[in-house]
Amino acid sequence: MTGGGVSGNDMPSLPWTARQDASPVEDTPLESLLAGNGLPAGAGAELRPVADVLAALTALPAGDELTGLAAARAAFSRRVAGPAQVRQSRRWRSLGLVSRLGVRVGAAAALVVMGFGGAAAAAYAGALPTSWQQFAHRTIGAPAHGAPHDSRAVTGAAGSAAHRPGSRHRAHQALPGGLSARHASLHHTRSPFDAGPPPARPFVHLVRPPIVPGVGRWPSPWRYTFHWPARTEQLGPDASVSNAGSMRGVS
């Protein structure tokens, strides 16, 4: 009888040990085999075939294990070697400046360009301080400080505004001498039926005809009104004042 009230026959003495998976093979030679160090001296004989299996596993490659080399090299040529050449030529062609001088210099250059662009826009809008406006007036032809707003009409703001279909009102306000854009257009514009090229005029090259997909739907006089600057030879004194105003910025 056991202490728990159970008879001895009910508690068979099992021949199990504490560790069911315990093996006569020690861990040290196993770890040596797994580390690739071979079978240590004094290891059990039962591990010798295992060592031979592992040695056979790391034997020299057979022929069928080297058959995929061509495909791998082709993939390498496409992915690594090929793009390297393309990248090199591309670097020399377009990205050389950025790669050599660095991203910071490129960003600084972009900021400078943006700053100059904004300053030029402000100069043409007459929004700069007096000294800066005079400097812009001398250097890039911006209107001088204190010049009437309509003097900028033909050269800059109104000139570009007049080329937008939706800005007729602004063009109307911008033309000098109290001459409305609509009124002026009747006199300024060439008839579409006039023959020959338009005569040479200052700042014609600064104004490009807009790309308007539906331009053909417009009446012809409007097309020419908004695509070309005003012609001065048919306007008389008022129109010459207009162009004189634009020339002031250059002279």
Partner: protein, 176 residues
């Protein structure tokens, strides 16, 4: 060699491939015997794709290579998910199928194919641990990271695998 391959040297890449592909193929022939060649090819495509971004030493390179191969196998098995495999991790050695062909072949000539055939009889985890440690030359911690197991579990699985391999060989009568 690895740096040269990353710079685009085809000769260096060839050396890397010749050095690693046999071990990779043997590993794949154990864990994915039906699709080993395809998995190896896909692995190298993946490796080539990410070769420039790889950073690490030789051990890290081997771990990356075998990790990529293992993921290819897992992806392929997921695609063929209709075929469900029973896990053999805890199967006793007596329940493992011991093919007479493999044992006979091992007795006749203990070549690489015979070794692969013998290792294929082990449970997947034990076989993988043995292959990754012996073939890839990875230490216990690297194998544990690769398999997503603890280092202790990896060590035990490796030891059990070798013991089970010794039992299989003794039962097959391979004594040298």
């Amino acid at each position: 060699m690895l740096a040269a391959a990353q710079q685009g040297s085809e000769a260096a890449f060839t050396r890397l491939w010749l050095d690693a592909n046999p071990a990779l193929l043997r590993y794949l022939r154990v864990i994915a015997p039906e699709t080993a060649e395809d998995a190896a090819a896909e692995t190298w495509v993946q490796v080539v794709r990410g070769l420039r971004r790889f950073r690490g030493d030789e051990a890290a390179w081997r771990a990356w290579l075998f990790t990529t191969a293992r993921r290819r196998v897992i992806d392929a098995s997921r695609r063929r998910s209709r075929r469900r495999e029973e896990p053999l991790h805890d199967a006793p050695a007596e329940a493992l199928p011991v093919t007479a062909d493999a044992a006979d072949e091992a007795m006749e000539r203990l070549g690489t194919q015979s070794a692969i055939a013998l290792l294929s009889q082990l449970p997947r985890l034990q076989a993988e641990v043995i292959l990754l440690r012996v073939l890839a030359g990875l230490d216990t911690n690297a194998v544990a990271r690769l398999l997503g197991r603890s280092p202790g579990a990896v060590r035990i699985a490796g030891h059990r695998g070798l013991r089970r391999l010794a039992e299989i060989l003794s039962r097959a009568g391979v004594t040298l």
